[in-house]
Amino acid sequence: MNISDIVFLIFALVTVASAAVVVFSKSLIYSAFSLLFTFFGVAVFYIFLGADFLAATQMLVYIGGILILLLFGVMLTHRLYNLNLTTERFQPVIGAIIALAVFFSLSLVALQTQWKVVEDKELEPTTSKIGQAFLQEYLLPFEIASILLLVALIGAAMLVRRRTDI
C-alpha cells in the first residue's frame, strides 16, 4: 500500500461520510456544508483519474456556483430568526429498502463484471484536447448547451419575478 492508495482511501471515506451527512443530517445548513466536502472529494477523484480540467470545472461550477445557489435557497425560504432550520423525513423504511437494493445491485454489477481494463494508459494534460473536441467533434452539442444555459437563465428570472410587475 503506497502513499497514493492511502490518500485515495482517506478521500473516499471523506466523500462517502460527508454524503451520508448530507442525507441523514437534520439541519439544512449542515447538509449544505457537508455537500461542500462531497464535491471536493469528487474533484480529488477526477485528479486521480487524470482529468485535470474537469477537476477545476468541478471546483468552479459545483463549489463556487451550485453550492452557493443552494445556500441562497436555504436562506431565502426560511425566516432568518428561525435558527434551527430542520427538516423531517417521511417513508424512511421504503426509502432505505430501495436505496440498499440499488447499492447492492450496482456493486454486484461492478464487482462481477469482467471489465476490459486498459491499465497503462499514459496521462497527459487534457485541456487543449477538450478545447479541440469542443470546436470540432462536439460543436453542435456545445452550441445546444449554450442555448440551454440561456433558456435556463431567462426561465429562472421569469419564474421568480413578482407578479405585480407584469
Partner: protein, 101 residues
C-alpha cells in the same frame, strides 16, 4: 493499487445515498441536494470508464455536459422552489398538493 472497481463502488454508494435523500426528504432543497449527489456519482462513473478504456476523452466530454445540465437544472429548480415558497409559505413537498384537492 487503485482499480476501476473502487471508483464504481464509491459511485454506487453516492448514488444510493442520493436516492435515499430524494425519496425520504420532505424539504425541496434537500431533495435537490440528493439529485446533485446522483449527478456527481454518474460523473465519477463516466470519467472512470474514460480513464480505464482505450477511448480518448469522450467520457470527460460527457461529464462536462452533465455539469452544464446540472447548473441549468439547479437554477430553474431553485426558481421554482422560491415561487412555491412565495405562494404557500412552505417548501415541504407533501404540502404542495394544490392540484390534488
Amino acid at each position: 493499487m487503485i482499480q476501476l472497481q473502487h471508483y464504481l463502488l464509491i459511485s454506487a454508494a453516492l448514488f444510493s445515498l442520493g436516492v435515499f435523500g430524494v425519496l425520504t426528504r420532505r424539504n425541496a432543497i434537500n431533495v435537490l441536494m440528493g439529485v446533485e449527489l446522483i449527478l456527481n456519482s454518474a460523473n465519477i462513473n463516466l470519467v472512470a470508464f474514460s480513464r480505464y478504456s482505450s477511448s480518448g476523452i469522450d467520457g470527460q466530454m460527457f461529464a462536462i455536459f452533465v455539469i452544464v445540465v446540472a447548473a441549468a437544472e439547479v437554477a430553474v429548480a431553485l426558481a421554482i422552489v422560491l415561487t412555491l415558497y412565495r405562494l404557500l409559505k412552505t417548501v415541504n413537498l407533501d404540502q404542495a398538493g394544490e392540484l390534488n384537492k
